[in-house]
Amino acid sequence: MSHEILLTQLLYGSAGLLFFLLGAWSFISHEPLWRKLIALNIMGAGVFHVLVAVAYRGLDTPPDPVPHALVLTGIVVAVSATALALAFGRRLDREEPEQTSDIQGVDDREDGTHA
């Protein structure tokens, strides 16, 4: 039984590590701000994945509550940090619209309502 638990943890945890590495690769190698932001979020998802895998202790036992609590608050904090970063991106768009063509597309609501 404990062998099965370890296998499950390894499977899910390794997937989380893979997410983290893919996100880190994308973060380093892509220029546009919004792509970096998505990459950061994928890295974060990988970290949450690893923490949830660590907390798993079999189907019959309750999971370790400490990593679960960390992930729970972490998700909400990550969402709000992403919103803050997007607000920074919009502000950059507004400040220098022609020089920062890379980050255009962070928000397309700037010029009036959607069609």
């Binding site: 370890l6 943890q9 390894l10 945890g13 390794s14 590590l17 893979l18 983290f20 590495l21 880190a24 690769w25 380093i28 190698s29 892509h30 220029e31 690893v50 660590v54 907390a55 202790r57 309750p62 999971p63 370790d64 509550p65 400490v66 679960h68 609590a69 729970l72 608050t73 998700i75 909400v76 904090v77 969402v79 709000s80 940090a81 919103a83 803050l84 997007l86 607000a87 920074f88 919009r90 502000r91 507004r94 928000d107 609501r109 700037e110 010029d111 009036g112 309502t113 959607h114 069609a115």
Partner: protein, 226 residues
């Protein structure tokens, strides 16, 4: 990025090395541990924490300090967003079909949020999940063309956004005044104190997420279209 760069080879190699290191750390964290783990310690004390759901016990009792600071992070993020400029222009008002769907979905989200808040004491649920649902209700309203996502005007919105941190800190300080230590709940009152904090936190998280989605300081509210 240029493809003929040595970086294109170097970055994956470095990341593979980091990945191997992380995997080794993960592996030794899973297997190379003897003795008592934190989970056993936490689960053992759950009955005296005021909530029978272990995750809620950890969030609002054992690690309450951490959760308080996380609510403060949410508040700080919203203040940052507000200081960067006005909210984006609202979406166009949705058509009749979507609009009536929104009329169904939003009350459901609010009811589900209230349920999750209450059930969080005994089963999976709690302030963060309930707050996320309230935030989702706000996002739905914003996407269907309500310029302020169903949020109140700025003075009340400020109160709502700060409520979670405020209630949390006030409870902590009051307990300190009674000589119990910051956020050390007396077992008899723990359940109600946790529920009070969670209610404030839920409203705060929901309002903060919805306001963050608007992307800036609320515009002066125009009278809503009928």
């Amino acid at each position: 990025m240029s493809s003929s760069n040595p970086q294109t080879l170097l970055i994956p190699l470095l990341l593979a090395a980091i990945g191997a290191l992380l995997f080794w750390a993960f592996w030794s964290g899973l297997t190379g541990h003897e003795g008592e783990r934190l989970a056993a310690l936490a689960l053992e004390r759950v009955p005296e924490s005021g909530a029978s759901n272990p995750v809620t016990s950890v969030l609002l009792n054992f690690r309450a300090y951490d959760t308080l600071l996380e609510l403060a992070v949410l508040l700080a993020a919203l203040l940052g967003i507000w200081s960067l400029g006005p909210a984006a222009a609202p979406y166009q008002r949705a058509s009749l079909l979507l609009d009536s769907l929104v009329g169904w979905v939003v009350p459901m989200l609010i009811i589900a949020g209230g349920y999750l808040l209450w059930i969080g004491g005994q089963a999976p649920g709690g302030a963060f999940q309930a707050g996320a649902l309230l935030g989702a209700a706000g996002v739905t309203l914003a996407l269907s063309g309500r310029p302020n996502a169903g949020l109140p005007g700025e003075p009340w919105l400020r109160v709502l956004a700060a409520l979670g941190t405020l209630v949390f800190a006030l409870v902590g300080l009051t307990l300190m005044g009674w000589g119990l230590g910051f956020l050390t709940y007396p077992p008899a009152l723990a359940k109600w104190l946790i529920l009070t904090i969670e209610t404030g936190a839920t409203l705060s998280i929901g309002a903060t997420l919805a306001a963050a989605f608007l992307g800036g300081r609320p515009r002066t509210t125009r009278p809503a279209e009928p």
